[in-house]
């Protein structure tokens, strides 16, 4: 047992929450694939408590208070019980007998470990940094909950209600364990946020953002994203948190990403842009998936706020972004409605999955603006009057509606577009452009003309 705990002693002595979390890892490291099994074999269900207690007491009595020893004994014993279930689940899996039960057992045992941790952190038996170790434990709990729910869903595809409900189909959650885990995370969050320790250095408030991130991930999975807003709100309402920039970058970037996505989904694109940009700027250079994720929201966002598209350079750097957005951006730039509609339809499943479809759809306006802008440019210039020079040339600003109609029909003639155009519709779309400020001018219905402003007919596009 002492040998098995050697790693714990080293980790503890280093005062590193991550190192201790590493000791409590439910997965064997690649360089030592037998680690969990070896640890498991050092004791058994009956002896584990006594064994760990004896080992810790004989080793740490002079370095640790009895309270703390007691706390670690419980934590490590609970960890062993978790490992016990994991090893058994692995054995079942190897025999092809992995079932619902095992996944739930692992989850339950890991939940016990998490609860034990919470108990000793809240009563002060464990050092303040243990809250970070708890974060890692809780993150594993989240993953075990996902697995357990997955197994349960396989076992029972649909629950029909029984008992006293009025309606036939039960509202029993499909994500029972993850919902339960969410409540555990809530407790941890409250534990961190509400820490009254005036000494900031040893405050649990340092755990606020990483636990919030855990909650975000959980709520997104549960499709109860609105609950994330409560987390953001309660953090905003807490005035005595350490300054944001002092938190570890991983906490900050993840937090800003989720705040950005939440704002994005609420259609607060200004806020979304600010948060996502901040996340982008601080993102770890070697985490390209996370960079792509940030961009997958930031790109649609910028289209709405600034009408800007990602540079070729950016798309080339991230091939996944290129395949996701490339065609759509090209079509927008060219004012090619057919191409746009085709790209949007083809990408729809992927866009919908990423919750960006409805936002991207709105950028058809930009494609349309670019198309109408071309009509405007093709109209050329008014003839020079006497005494005027080339510099005084002004563009023709009265353009027949029929010209816009012709352009629309040409642009939507391709196979990809499902939009057919009739004359009223052209007027409607023109009206829309003016209403939304993409074009400056008015429609003269009597004359069948669009009368555009002499200056800035298409704002912010140089004409």
């Amino acid at each position: 047992m002492q040998d098995a705990l050697a790693e714990f002693y080293t980790a503890y002595a280093s005062g590193s929450a991550v190192a201790v979390a590493h000791f409590l890892n439910p997965i064997s490291p690649p360089q030592n694939p037998g680690r969990l099994y070896d640890f498991w074999r050092t004791t058994n269900e009956v002896r584990v408590g006594g064994d760990v207690q004896y080992a810790l007491e004989s080793r740490l009595r002079r370095h640790m208070s009895p309270n703390e020893i007691n706390a670690w004994v419980d934590v490590i014993s609970a960890y062993w019980r978790g490992v016990d279930k994991i090893v058994k689940a692995e054995q079942a899996e190897n025999q092809g007998k992995l079932a619902e039960r095992q996944a739930i057992d692992v989850y339950d045992a890991w939940k016990d470990l998490t609860s034990t941790f919470i108990k000793y952190i809240s009563n002060g038996a464990l050092p303040h940094w243990a809250v970070f170790t708890l974060y890692f434990t809780a993150n594993h709990l989240r993953k075990f909950a996902l697995k357990a729910d997955e197994q349960m869903a396989k076992a029972k595809p649909v629950t029909f209600s029984s008992g006293f409900q009025d309606d036939i189909v039960s509202t029993t959650p499909r994500n029972e364990k993850l919902e339960e885990a969410a409540r555990v995370f809530n407790r941890i969050f409250a534990l961190c946020l509400g820490d009254r320790n005036p000494e900031l250095m040893s405050s649990r408030k340092w755990g606020v953002y990483c636990i919030a991130n855990l909650q975000f991930k959980t709520y997104f999975k549960l499709k109860t994203i609105s609950l994330s807003k409560n987390v953001v709100k309660s953090i905003a309402a807490q005035s005595d948190l350490p300054q944001f920039h002092l938190y570890p970058a991983s906490h900050r970037v993840t937090y800003m990403y989720y705040v950005g996505v939440i704002s994005f989904l609420q259609e607060d694109y200004t806020m979304a842009e600010a948060s996502l940009t901040e996340a982008w700027n601080s993102c770890y250079a070697y985490s390209s998936k996370n960079q792509e994720l940030i961009m997958s929201y930031l790109i649609p966002c910028r289209l709405i706020t600034e009408h800007k598209i990602p540079s070729a350079q950016l798309l080339n750097q991230f091939p996944h972004l290129r395949s996701l957005f490339g065609d759509l951006m090209d079509s927008i730039k060219k004012g090619d409605l057919s191409g746009f509609d085709k790209a949007l339809t083809e990408g729809e499943p992927e866009f919908v999955k990423r919750r960006i479809f409805l936002t991207l759809e709105r950028s058809r306006d930009i494609a349309l603006r670019n198309l109408f802008r071309k009509v405007f440019l093709s109209a050329g210039y008014e003839d020079l009057k006497e005494g005027q020079t080339e510099n005084d040339r002004i563009r023709k600003s009265r353009i027949p509606i029929s010209h816009f109609a012709a352009a629309l029909r040409m642009s939507t003639a391709g196979t990809g577009s499902s939009q057919v155009v009739d004359d009223d519709e052209v007027e409607c779309l023109l009206a829309n452009m003016i209403y939304k400020g993409h074009m400056k001018g008015y429609i003269s219905r009597d004359h069948g003309m669009v009368v555009l402003n002499k200056k800035g007919a298409f704002p912010k596009t140089g004409v």
Binding site: S161, S162, G163, Q165, D166, K353, N432, Y435, D446
Partner: protein, 503 residues
């Protein structure tokens, strides 16, 4: 001057999927031009009066009739009691009939007015004989139980039909109950009917909780009952409900054979007793909790109508109608709806119909039909609460491929999210659609409505409004005015210099 469609042929929801002749303008204007005309000629475009949420009614016990909810200012006050009931081990209401039958007389051992049969007297005597005392069961408890046992049969004038010489003594009944209670302990039954873990706050959920407030049977004020009494009299709650429903109290129940065997074993009852109504305490706790939640009831009630009441206990077979009766009920309701259009009544009947289906675990094409019909009626009357409840159920039923019209209701869901402008829900719904779904004409119509608004193509939107299949226009009515205003704002800005009088 063609009016925007403010007069509509009321489409019966029973014929909804056969496209009936919707309102159509005879001389067909393009809708966008129509708006333009409206704008230049400031004719007030009338809003079709949307039907108010009509079914917010409450059954007033005092006056024994349905009253609109706003008439009853204190309908929320039951909440506290409700919660308390849910928390206690047994949520069931004391049975007034039983308790009042004997609780007034101080002791049944000395009957003052009633002439008890000798067998009963003997039974009472045996109950208090020292040799029959069971450790841990007090004399008081025995007395109380005795009152209830005798009261139960006395009330039914069945004192003579019981073989008192073999009937279990009160203390034996109590022991049995306690033992089975211990068995069941640890499994806390979820009696609330709904889990409180869902974070959902859709209108349907809210609606549901309102219903609970409104329709929860009220405990008699000022009457405090202990747990034991609750436990033994819980089925009496049903009995009372039963009476309220106007059903014969002693409807014979055909017990499940298994159930019967269990009971026989437990009480050493002879077969002769099988056809007698079972006293409430016979439905012991240990085949409740776990079993109660899974075993379907097999209904025996033959009445077509039944007033809806929220269940707080497992229903008795004699209060539940089997499917073949429910099918007739549905026919009757269909006819009544067409003839009378009394939504309050229809909604209540549909709810009890749904409840009977649920407790019997009937989930088949008929179930789908019931929910579809209720959803259509609710939609026609603008009762979004019920409509959404039905939609939720239908969604799950369709996933079981039980038939019905999934395309029709998918289209409604899309239109509903257009109405609520809920982008997240809309996105989730889009994520569920298969390519085949998207090409279905009804669903495609709804999707086109969505995209036309997203792209500001009001011209197309108003055309789609005129062409809405099934009951789509009832849903579109909910946002047509909003979008018409958007379109007008849009037009006013774009045409402003040519439309002087608008300024």
């Amino acid at each position: 001057m063609p009016q925007p469609r403010n007069a509509r042929v009321q489409v019966s929801c029973f014929t909804a999927h056969k496209q009936t002749d919707f309102f159509r303008t005879t001389h067909h204007h393009h809708p966008f031009s129509l708006l333009l005309l409206l704008l230049s000629n400031p004719l007030p475009f009338t809003c079709r009066n949307s039907p108010a949420a009509a079914c917010s009614v409450y059954f007033d016990r005092a006056s024994r009739r349905w009253v609109p909810r706003h008439v009853l200012p204190c309908f929320r006050s039951h909440r506290g009691v409700d919660t308390e009931l849910q928390r206690s081990t047994c949520p069931h209401k004391p049975h007034q009939a039983v308790t009042s039958a004997c609780s007034q007389s101080t002791s049944p051992v000395k009957p003052a007015k009633v002439d008890w049969p000798p067998a009963v007297r003997e039974y009472v005597g045996r109950a208090f004989e020292g040799q029959n005392t069971i450790k841990g069961i007090s004399r008081e408890d025995v007395t109380k139980k005795l009152k209830e046992v005798i009261g139960f049969f006395a009330e039914r004038s069945q004192l003579d039909s019981v073989t008192w010489s073999t009937y279990p003594l009160p203390q034996e009944l109590l022991r049995d109950e306690r033992l089975s209670k211990m068995d069941a302990a640890g499994v806390k039954p979820t009696l609330s009917g709904t889990t409180n873990t869902t974070h959902d706050n859709t209108p349907s959920k809210k609606r549901k909780s309102q219903d609970r407030d409104e329709l929860q049977p009220q405990p008699t004020p000022g009457r405090k009952t202990n747990n034991l009494e609750d436990r033994i009299t819980f089925a009496g709650g049903n009995e009372k409900r039963h009476k309220k429903n106007g059903l014969p109290r002693d409807t014979q129940s055909k017990f499940d054979q298994n159930d019967l065997e269990k009971r026989k074993q437990r009480f050493n009852l002879g077969t002769a007793t099988a056809n007698r109504p079972m006293p409430p305490w016979v439905a012991t706790r240990n085949d409740s909790d776990s079993d109660m939640n899974t075993a379907p009831v097999v209904g025996t009630n033959q009445r077509l109508e039944k007033q809806y009441l929220r269940l707080t206990a497992p229903p008795k077979a004699e209060t539940v109608r089997p499917q073949h009766v429910l099918e007739k009920t549905l026919q009757m309701l269909t006819r009544k709806w067409k003839e009378e259009k009394n939504y309050g009544y229809i909604c209540n009947q549909f709810k009890s119909l749904r409840q009977d289906l649920t407790v019997q675990h009937i989930k088949n094409a008929f179930t789908v039909k019931v929910y579809e019909l209720h959803a259509r009626i609710a939609l026609e009357k603008g009762d979004l609460g019920e409509y959404n409840q039905c939609q939720t159920q239908l969604k799950a039923l369709y996933s079981q491929r039980l038939g019905g019209n999934p395309a029709e209701f998918t289209a409604y869901r899309i239109l509903y999210f257009v109405y609520t402008c809920n982008k997240t829900d809309m996105n989730d719904l889009l994520a569920e659609l298969t390519p085949a779904d998207k090409t279905h004409p009804w669903i495609k119509h709804a999707l086109d409505v969505r995209s036309s608004l997203a792209l500001g193509n009001y011209h197309k939107f108003f055309q789609l409004y005129l062409d809405a299949p099934n009951m789509g226009s009832y849903l579109m009515d909910m946002f047509i005015e909003r979008e018409r205003l958007h379109a007008l704002a849009n037009i006013s800005k774009a045409y402003v210099p040519t439309l002087e009088h608008v300024r």
